[in-house]
Amino acid sequence: MELFDLTIKQASERLSTRQISSVELAESLLDRIEAVDDRIGAYLHVDREDVLARARQADERRLAGEDGPLLGVPIAVKDNICVKGVPTTCASKILEGFVPPYDATVTIALKKAGAVIIGKTNMDEFAMGSSTENSSRQKTANPWDTNRVPGGSSGGSAAAVSASMALGALGSDTGGSIRQPAAFCGVVGLKPTYGMVSRYGLVAFASSLDQIGPFTKDVADSALLLSAIAGHDRRDSTSVPREVPDFAASLEAGVEGLRFGVPEELMGAGVHHEIRGATEAIIDRLQSAGAVIEPASLPASVYGLSAYYIIAPAEASSNLARFDGVRYGYRASGPSDMIDSYMKTRAEGFGPEVKRRIMLGTYALSAGYYDAYYGQAQKVRTLIIQEFNSAFERFDALICPTTPTTAFKLGAKTDDPLEMYMSDVLTIPANLAGLPAISVPAGLTDGLPAGFQIMTKHFDEQTLFRVAAAVERASGFTQRPNLL
């Protein structure tokens, strides 16, 4: 087995026992990136010398007596998360050349733990999209079939972990942007409870929905990486002042006696029959393992997609107002005056999907429409939250597929924005309600990965990981894509 094939836990053990050095591990990943990323396109920025310097630092820290589960471990970071001194572009022309003068809180956490940040990964521009095709820079291919999308918006991070070009990666999830690409790429992807992980240094898309979360090869690694980045942060006023629990505590506890609900509305919704089959196979095995599984009903969740496509663009239109060519990023040439400068800069700097959402959001918030659109969507949000709260009085977890289909072909959905949006229909409710949700590989159908999704109540990531570990055992899925 190559070093790049290891999980975070395995690598950490070998580093701890001095079987390998951080530099050797980093070199293995860097060589892997050089060997396969021209076919995948997961990375926007990799600086070999910088990575090796970070790896040497990790080795020095170990020599000085330090140890820790992430010390010397190569982790990739989505390009909407600030790393000081390293270009952060959100895959947008309007942030070309932008170098953050500060680290995101999660970046500080990774550096404190001694992780080696190996590069910045590709994404849909400003996290708007479900295929990574909206990147202004390049397409990313799915490592399982390079004619297909890796999902989005965190497609680069998902593909990097899937193709063993990073041992773990950070992404962001606003409507499914971690879980959906995780499902498409056959890796574990987690969106934590809203407020569990600081958003300071994450370029904001929709502030009430965004969360940073980990991509990993397995569930144990996911708990490990979440532990490193979770926690209260005074610089994010939406981060919650709660103690971070031991996420890995119940990984082996099994599902005996736990009650799971399968929401009917999320099993309908255009779910293709192979996905349904893969999901039901896991459900059977969970029942054999002692779980009690019943249908559930979440009638308001059907409206979640519609509410999301009012709320998210509305918040985005406000958040993206800062991109005006004044203080950083792209500025159009030859404007006649200030307003013209704004209008030209933004017209030239933003891609079509971003402009679409800014226009929709601006319209939804404008005078005369606010109550009917944004106001109503906020009320629907309340209904969704209330419905989930009731469901969690009956159930320990809710389960369903992560996506209605397996990965679609590159270019297949770019003409129809509504079809693209449907691929988020199963993931959006967790964002609206702020619930923790994870996608675990359920197996392959026609050679493409299918994801199994679990949701629990707020701040119950321990149960989430417990169930996820059981699903992982039930699926027995350990394959990696063949990239020869």
Partner: protein, 87 residues
Amino acid sequence: MDHVALLARLALTDTEKDRLTTELGQILGHAEKIAELDTADVPPSAHATEVVNVLRSDEVGEELPLEAALANAPEREDDAFGVPKIV
């Protein structure tokens, strides 16, 4: 469309305006869908978190040094960002 584009500070071409008018129409079908739900007695939720009104005392903390703040400026004039004329 022109009014919204001005509010959003986006200069749109005629082709973009035509395409956006259709797309916005389709997507706003979503707005009609959520109007189906009876929300008469439902309070709006801005988010799903338990925290409200997080305040801190008004004390100077960490500062971003001037050079760092200006480092990404498309145009710099002394210690300020240079911009096209406003009036």
